[in-house]
């Protein structure tokens, strides 16, 4: 055990952490997008994961079945925060059908299933979340806001 400190010293120690926390994730984690509250939202929900305590407040306003405005705030780990921010960017301007299809793509991506090139195009930067696959306990963090959004849309459309 002796000399452990020096053995692992320097800044190279966290090498493959980059598999999970790609630059794009760290960026969204440090500067989350679309955090402003939405006035008179059509959907306004809280999602949380009691196991890690992550909690997000998701709001959006629809115009002609498209998401006109979105606001997400909350607290969580880097993965769940970045994921929420990426989600907010993606959904803006998309139709509810497009959003639900994207949720389906990301679910399959994180399960390790293949997604098509067209799906990858839609996801764009979000494909970076796929790195989480190697860290199974963190998949829930990546999915949290997406699952919440999907449930909310399903409920809204059923009304």
């Amino acid at each position: 055990m002796m000399g452990r400190n020096s053995e692992r010293g320097g800044t190279g120690g966290l090498g493959d952490l980059d598999d999970m926390y790609e630059a794009i994730i760290l960026d969204h984690y440090r500067s989350p997008r679309n955090t402003a509250p939405v006035d008179s939202p059509d959907v306004d929900i809280e999602v949380n994961n009691p196991f890690c305590g992550d909690e997000f407040h998701i709001q959006f306003r629809l115009e002609d079945d498209a998401i006109a405005e979105v606001g997400i705030t909350g607290r969580g780990c880097a993965i769940s925060q970045a994921s929420a921010s990426l989600l907010a960017e993606l959904v803006k301007g998309k139709s509810t059908g497009e959003v639900r299809a994207a949720v389906d793509s990301i679910r399959r991506l994180l399960k390790g299933e293949k997604i098509t090139d067209e799906e990858a195009d839609v996801l764009g930067d979000i494909e970076a979340l796929g790195g989480v696959r190697k860290f199974p306990v963190r998949i829930k963090c990546a999915l949290l806001s997406w699952v919440g959004l999907d449930d909310a849309l399903k409920e809204h459309l059923a009304r």
Partner: protein
Amino acid sequence: MSISDPEIVTRSRRFDVDAIRADFPILSRKINGQTLVYLDNAATSQTPRQVIGALTDYYERMNANVHRGVHTLSIESTEAYELARTKVATFINAPEPESVIWTRNTSESLNLVASTWGQANVQAGDNIVISAMEHHSNIVPWQQLAAKKNAELRYLGVNADGALDLASIDSAIDSRTKIVAVTHMSNVLGTVVPIVELARRAHQAGAVILVDAAQSVPHMPVDVQALDVDFLCFSAHKMLGPTGIGVLYGRKELLEEMPPYMFGGDMILEVTYEDATWNDLPYKFEAGTPNIADAIATGAAVDYLTELGMDNIWEHEQRLTAYAVNQISKLEKVKILGPKDPSLRGGVISFIHEAIHPHDLGTALDRQGIAIRTGHHCAMPLVRSFDVVAAARASFYIYNTESEVDALVNGISEAERYFIR
């Protein structure tokens, strides 16, 4: 815990951590290219080759169902199984082996008491007193019992510094208190709870006292007679033993009056198609084929701990905890929960990083081979009372070293360099 006793200081010189580490095969495992630094002992402890050997030996040499078998293997396994019970009884100074019941884990021990003793003794209008720093396993069974019986569940308070609020005893314990069920050491804060005082107060009020000793029996000398407790619950997997086995100690007079918990197998005396009668203690509470191999391996774990000496173990961890509290406190962005004074706590250190979420910290440390636990530590209401939902936790045992504490502190700094720019 007379750690200033000169005799013990002498013995502790013989507490040879390098020699201890050599007994734990897993400690030479590489994790992400680094030698494992295992600091998740409050969740489960590692297993020395002596305990693994007891398991192997059992299955290779004497595996047989216990009790009532007339063949040699059954006679041998029965003797080994009962010898292990006697070892545990001696370890906690139980007056007799039959007041030691084998269960699956601390949680089952607690559920057993809540279901049987609680069912028989708690009535509407009575109250049950626990503390605000209990593990879920020592909260929810009492919530359920209280709801079922229309009894009241009361909480002893916890101060901002993580100590038990002694003033809250006066308002919590009264003549309608039937049981006081408290942890001996918090698995989040490390706080050591004054059991002797609580036992005195509980008995004064005519109540019984149960102690959740999951975090104390592995780390300090525990004497059920000196503490004067009525029930004591702990798990083998946190004290060098195998998973799947725990202990309920109970005062014999109480156990004798309690109805059984589960039915069938060894707990039966006689069955007709209409009715059944129960076997004597401890079998009354051991339904079906017991966890024979793991009971015997628990005996081996007790032997290992006894040979090291529980006073020495406690002293080693006190020293390590003092060092760790001191070193971690130097990190500006880190806040330690629980008592700062090492003499008021054991080697469980939960902390919060003001900029890094515990899960990210845990993952970053894991990349460096350092295993800590992150989350609510099965004590959600307590963790929330510190205005967070999750914390990081490092917890020590006999094989941990100061250089591992250094690795932890250095690892946190690495994580800061990674996440904070």
